[in-house]
């Protein structure tokens, strides 16, 4: 530890760290565009430049190491002017259709321009319009708005290790694009949307379905229903400034009914259903043979990742549909019949913290009679826009319950929102199935927390169950390679979430990669699990009823037909 001087203030710095890291520790803000916390700096955008006494030019604080006694100025006139020039240059070939840009209010380039008082296009350069790629059901790529910061490329290559997009070409002609300039829908992109979360501009956005939905809400021929994922009410609450602990799903139910949805369902119920069905599948494989370890299949990006990169592991994937897929199927079968509405007159919407769920809903297997089970998927960001569009005042709402027959959920289903939650929920039920008894402590501490890789062994009766919980596809790739090399022989159950941290940090969440916020969401889910009584999926009375009245037994014929799906290898350029 030594001292450096910043803006005439003395602060501590660690040998080997960068100027930016020392500054952010004491709350001195320096603007960044290409910086990614916890990753090697690239110094691509130069917006974080600062003045260091004795240096000839300005230095990028994100990649410049501190030195003892260094004297730094972060906002001298020279620094401010240089940053302003950089912003002007970035804007000189950037479209100025901010009014119409879906990233407008979240655009980091736009806010920097505002902060630095850039109020006219100078130098006046014409921008070269590049083709917009709207082929993916999940992600829209608009290279004209790309500032080539490289964050999407890095998150795709270094965090997810998918490598679907890359810099192609050189100089002003550089574009971030899939291999051979082909479109996103036929690339190896798994639709996780982590690139959308890190993109500072409108170059990467979700493929919005909001307009399709608002069009249907006005129609009378269709009955429109909606389901929302376990983590959705949490982030909605944050956006409306509600205190954690308010009856958030209750308020969301009320809001969605005011918007015009005839039925509002909580996907957490279907998460319970997934836990029960998957626990049975797991126990069957344990007892009568079948591919082990079983891999969870809730995360559609992970499923596509296996189909593309590791087809030899497809038999290990649980054949269970995701909670969205299960509820979608049950809505268009059981619910349609019960409510006396033909499935073709139902318009089923899902609000998800996920861009890949948009892709999942388009999978041909997930529907009946050429009609998809889920008609449209929106992200949390689109849901927020929708709530504003319909003028809903959250503070004036009274909490309401979700609609029956899927109105009750256990906290196990709710835990699906965080990495480790699917494992915890499923293993609670698996323990009951294997031993006839509930787990002594329902809380399975060893699968909790935001670590990208957790491994543990649980004792269930006389069995030792090796469990791994992985989040982030880079970590998943590592585990698969190790399993292929003959390691992890004792593993029986593997949960994988494509997004680091799970759905609470999903690619469809509001644009804030603030780790504190993600931690708060996790803690909220754990606290909820501690505070309620119904903590296992198999004890959920509405789940029992659904099996009694419709599905029969878990893994039985009807359940297999409605709740299970198939996977197939995909041939794309890897």
């Amino acid at each position: 530890m030594f001292e450096i001087t910043v803006n005439n203030r003395i602060i501590d710095a660690e040998p080997g760290e960068t100027i930016l890291s020392a500054l952010s520790r004491v709350g001195i803000r320096v603007p960044t565009l290409c910086h990614m916390a916890g990753m090697m700096p690239t110094g691509a955008c130069r917006i974080c430049i600062v003045e260091v006494e004795g240096e000839d030019g300005l230095v990028p604080s994100c990649s410049y190491p501190v030195r003892e006694g260094m004297r730094i100025r972060t906002n001298s006139q020279k620094v401010i002017n240089a940053r302003k020039t950089l912003i002007q240059l970035l804007l000189s070939n950037h479209p100025d259709d901010c009014l119409y840009c879906s990233k407008s209010s979240d655009c980091q380039l736009r806010s920097l321009a505002e902060e630095y008082g850039v109020r006219e296009r100078t130098p006046k350069r014409k921008f070269r319009e590049k083709l917009k790629d709207i082929t993916s059901p999940s992600i829209i790529r608009d290279p004209t708005k790309c500032i080539l910061c490289g964050k999407c490329v890095r998150v795709c290559n270094e965090v997810q290790e998918v490598g679907a997009i890359e810099f192609v070409g050189r100089g002003s002609r550089t574009v971030v694009t899939p291999a051979f300039n082909r479109s996103m829908n036929i690339s190896s992109c798994v639709n996780c949307g982590q690139c959308v979360l890190v993109c500072p501009t409108g170059a990467l956005t979700e493929h919005s379905r909001l307009e399709d939905i608002t069009n249907v809400i006005g129609e009378h021929e269709k009955t429109i229903v909606i389901q929302y994922a376990p983590s959705v009410p949490l982030s909605i609450a944050e956006e409306f400034g509600l205190k954690p602990g308010a009856d958030i799903p209750g308020l969301l139910n009320a809001a969605l009914r005011q918007i015009g949805f005839s039925r509002v369902f909580d996907t957490s119920f279907a998460a319970d259903l997934t836990a029960v069905e998957e626990a049975h599948e797991f126990v069957t494989r344990l007892e009568s043979g079948g591919a082990l370890p079983i891999f969870t299949s809730c995360s559609p990006s992970w499923v596509k990742f296996v189909e593309e990169f590791y087809p030899e592991f497809l038999p290990n994937l649980s054949t269970c549909k995701s909670p969205q897929g299960m509820l979608g199927a049950v809505i268009k079968t059981f619910f349609a019949k019960q409510a006396g509405i033909p499935a073709s007159a139902l318009y089923s919407v899902a609000a998800m913290p996920c861009t890949a769920k948009k892709f999942e809903a388009t999978r041909a297997e997930l529907g009946r009679n050429d009609d998809p089970d889920i008609d449209a998927v929106i992200t949390v960001r689109e849901l927020l826009r929708m709530i504003k569009l319909y003028g809903i005042d959250f503070n004036a709402l009274q909490p309401e319950g979700a609609d029956s027959p899927f109105g009750t959920r256990s906290t196990a289903g709710k835990l699906f929102g965080v990495t480790g939650g699917v494992a915890e929920a499923t293993l609670r039920t698996a323990h009951k199935l294997l031993t006839g008894r509930e787990l002594k402590s329902l809380k399975i501490e060893s699968v909790r927390g935001l670590d990208g890789f957790k491994e543990t062994t649980l004792k269930m009766g006389d069995r030792e169950i090796g469990v791994a919980v992985v989040s982030g596809l880079g970590n998943a790739r590592k585990l698969l390679e190790e399993i292929r090399d003959g390691l992890h022989k004792n593993l029986k159950f593997v949960e994988v979430m494509a997004c680091p941290g799970g759905c609470i940090a999903g690619g469809g969440q509001p644009f804030s990669t603030n780790p504190e916020r993600i931690k708060a969401r996790m803690q909220f889910l754990y606290a909820l699990d501690q505070s309620e009584h119904l903590r296992t999926a198999h004890e959920n009375p509405e789940i029992k009823r659904l099996y009694r009245e419709f599905l029969g037994t878990p893994g039985g014929d009807v359940a297999r037909e409605v709740l299970h799906t198939t996977f197939a290898p995909r041939s794309v350029y890897l």
Binding site: A164, F167, V168, R170, A179, F180, S187, L574
Partner: protein, 160 residues
């Protein structure tokens, strides 16, 4: 490209990323261009994303992604040639051939490439056809050369 040939090139290098450029150069040398198949196989061998290989290759002017035409035209865009009007020459070539640098005409006759200095600045602007240098090219000269090449090809001949 012949699979054995590609295999032979790949086998001569340890499968690590620092050999990428050398491999790309050898493959292009053997094949005349970098085919999708070759890029996919190089990616698989080096355990890199196909997009990464394509990204690296497109960074360099040297690499082509279409097979060369019967007549491969290289136009120098070095400083001296630029001063002497190679920009107008490039416009003329693009217009006459209907292709951009890096592309091959639909009839497979011509391919176009812009190169850095060819080292014949005294003859600027310089263009080469299958390695044969043409000096002081302007619009008229280019049109004459292209007409000659076209009629030569139509007559089934290989030479100018």
């Amino acid at each position: 490209m012949n699979n054995d040939k590609l295999e032979e090139i790949l086998n001569r290098y340890p499968p690590s990323r620092e050999h990428l450029i050398a491999i790309l150069q050898e493959v292009q040398e053997a094949e005349g261009f970098l085919s999708r198949e070759a890029i996919v196989r190089i990616a698989a061998r080096l355990k890199l994303a196909t997009g990464k290989i394509y990204g690296v290759a497109t960074f360099y002017n040297q690499f082509r992604f279409q097979s060369s035409g019967k007549y491969h035209i290289q136009l120098c865009r070095g400083t001296a040639c630029h001063v002497k009007g190679s920009s107008a020459a490039l416009d003329c070539l693009e217009r006459e051939l209907g292709i951009h640098p890096g592309e091959t005409s639909a009839d497979g006759l011509f391919s176009l490439e812009v190169t850095p200095c060819l080292g014949a600045c005294g003859l600027a602007p310089v263009m080469s056809v299958n390695g044969e240098i043409h000096s002081c090219v302007d619009e008229i000269k280019i049109k004459t050369i292209l007409t000659a090449l076209r009629s030569s090809a139509a007559a089934g001949g290989d030479e100018l």
